[in-house]
């Protein structure tokens, strides 16, 4: 009985009091300064280009990142940033999607990185529905923590930006 007790105690001491190298922090999605793109409520043109640029940072090691773009013609909101943006011609671009743009791609981050400036050129197809889209940025670290950032973008052929 006494021995069993010592086993319990030593196990508890061993694991409760030993500092270990566990990663308990999720990675961060940060602005890439002037180049940061897309910004919330930014407008783009079908047939144009999104020059994605964000900075990822982790305390131990970054994992992968993913970019997913889907139509928000029904105005559902995921929002970390994505919210209501005001655009011209909004009324005519709200409703049932006909040919919504769906983009979904994973990107590796070279191993061993704690900081990584992600830059991706994403061509926008010509024949896609105009209107509001959600641009989702997801990044993981090697331990399996994930951070999400959602940015609202707007596609319009009459866009005067870019």
């Amino acid at each position: 009985m006494k021995q069993l007790f010592y086993i319990f105690i030593s196990f508890i001491l061993l694991y409760a009091c030993t500092p270990d190298g566990k990663d308990l922090q999720a990675p961060e999605i940060l602005s890439a300064g002037e180049q940061t793109c897309p910004l919330n409520c930014q407008e783009f043109t079908p047939g144009g280009l999104i020059e994605f640029a964000y900075l990822f940072r982790d305390n131990v090691e970054l994992g992968n990142f993913n970019i997913e773009i889907h139509s928000n013609s029904d105005h559902h909101t995921h929002g970390t940033e994505a919210g209501e943006c005001e655009h011209e011609h909004e009324e005519e671009h709200t409703g049932t999607p006909v040919n919504p743009w769906v983009f979904n791609r994973d990107y590796p981050i070279p191993s061993g990185q704690t900081q990584y400036k992600a830059q991706v050129r994403i061509p926008i197809p010509e024949e896609v529905d105009e209107g509001e889209y959600h641009f989702m940025i997801r990044v993981t670290d090697a331990a399996g923590w994930q951070s999400i950032r959602s940015v609202a973008i707007y596609l319009s052929s009459s866009s005067h930006s870019l």
Binding site: M1, L4, I7, F8, F11, I12, Y15, A16, D20, G21, K22, L24, A26, G63, N64, F65, N66, E68, H70, S71, D74, H75, H76, T77, H78, G79, T80, P97, P100, V102, N104, D106, M136, R138, T140, D141, A142, A143, G144, W145, Q146, S147, I148, R149, S150
Partner: protein, 693 residues
Amino acid sequence: MIKALLAVLMLYGAQDSSLVLGPAEIYGESHRQELMHTTLGSIEVGRNYLENNFSGTLIQSLSAIPGIQARNIGSGQSHASIRGLWGHRMVIAVDGIKHEGQQWGEEHGLEIDPLGIDRVELIKGPSSLLFGSDAVGGVLSLFTNYLPTRSFQGRAQLNFRSNNLSTGVSAHLEGRKEHFFWRMHLGGTLYADYRVPTDSIEYYSYRIPLHKRTLRNTAGREENASLMLGYVGEQLRNDFKVSVNDSKCGFFANAHGLEVRLSKINYDASRQDIDLPWQQVTHLTLHNHTHYHADRVLLEGDVAWQMNHREEHSEPVPHGYMPLPPDELERSFHKHCLTGKFGVTIPLSGQNRLQGGIDIEWQHNRRGGWGFILPDFETLSAGIYLLDRHCFSDELYIHAGLRYDPTWTAIHAYTDWFPTPGDEGKSIYKQRAVESKRHFDPFSWSVGVVWGPERWVLKGNLGKSFRVPSPKEMGADGVNYALFRYERGTADLLPEESYQMDLSVNWLGESLQVSLDPYLNYFPNYIYLNPSPAFEEGLQLYRYTQASVLRTGAELTIMYKILQRLELELKGEYLLARQMDGAKKGYSLPFTPPWGGNAGLTYRFSEEGYVRLDFRFAGAQNDIVPPEKATEGWYTLNFYAGKAFQSGRTTLKLGLRAENLLNRRYYDHTSYYRMIGVPEPGINLSLLLGIHF
């Protein structure tokens, strides 16, 4: 020997004899008998305890017992966790039959009427020997089969809760005429969105304002009905029971799983309505139990059929390559479970009691809806067991047993209903689950000793339990829309095995009673859903893997009778879990409860009246694993009072509870809504009115 047989008989024929008077228990000879009954740490509570501690759901009502935790899904649904193990890692049995719903779901509650239960027995520790697969963490055994003693008797109850404006009604009628008896139970609860002590919720740096501090769309309702018809003779008892449980409840509207979402539904229009997303479950049980006592041999047989139908509805939203779904039915599950049990108890010599039997269970599960997570499957298992109890004296016995559970699982294929663009511009309908058949041959065993000299009851148990991998763990391959992540099963998982050593030290003094239940638990191949750094279809990939896990912990209960009418009760629990290898080596397991407990002071102002002040607390949980959040420690102050008024055969019961009196804002680490940053309910006053006749 005779004593042991009597104990078995008492289990079936007894009235509510447990001496559980108020929120606190009074120990005595019966408590000693309960402790001596099993070699594992065990706790029994009766109907009185459940009524006095009624906190909305059955599991919440039991959560003050050290070693059992309620994992809440809002205010009206919760499921149980024994020492941090839940879902398929523990068994909930109703009158000896394993309750079968969709236990794998983190947001699925329990389909059992909390007010229709006569007695609860909690067995902490490996119990596969009695219940086969899943009984790794322990068993919460519920009994609804007490015999009526009079030709007509009954009880009715009315309860109100302020926090979620819940109103509950239940009526129980029963009677016995010579050898025949009947029991009928009806109950219903209606509740509104619950109130939290905060104006807004922060999730992924997104601020969700709350209307009037209520959690949008967490209202719900539940109805229960059951009827039991029985015969009880000198040697034979047979009871047949039909019961149905139906519930519907909403999910918090602004965040479902890991995703924040807003919709055009005006959730703030009413606190009472249930909008999308919501879940609805109907559970039907037919159960026949036969008990025949022939001379010295005891024969028992059970036949049961359970039907569980679950639907989860949400607003159709296109995701990734999935177009706009045609309707709101995100997932549905329709399960049938047939159980047959046969057992024999034979006293061999003067000291030996041999028990053997066979348990057969067949499960059939079908899915529906546009969200795929669990493939269709059938499972057949046949458990054969042999147990022996050898009594050296009235104070000392050993108990040993062996069980073999051959199990066959057939998983069906599933293919997406929408195409996904593949390589070279070709679209394919992705196959999510592959047809497969698995066979398992798990053995379980247990050896235990109970020694009860004078005021001590000392128990020790060493046992192996197992769990057959669930079809979800083997066959999942798709987006879990409820939790917004991609889950992938592993087809060749081995049955999860668990070895556990339990000790139980109990001192039953005149004015002081102490119970300490430590345990050490080792899983060579715990089935763990590992969040990986990879992505799949835009969502983080979670994969089922197997890792060795070591867990240890203890529960402590101290009861001290300061004065004749004044009692102090201290309860505490601690659990430490470590993954010893694999991708998350060094990490804990998800939903591991922090250390915690409660301290209560009860004053009995009369035979049937008490007031109690209760301080409930939990430490911080920083021992986390992705995607969990560290949770700060918390405490709540609670006040309870109750009084019974007797007039002839009629008893009027009045109960008052005030939970979280200080309206503290805190997070429960094991609650479903914890991960989206939703605090627990604020101040809650409840009133209970009961009449027994």
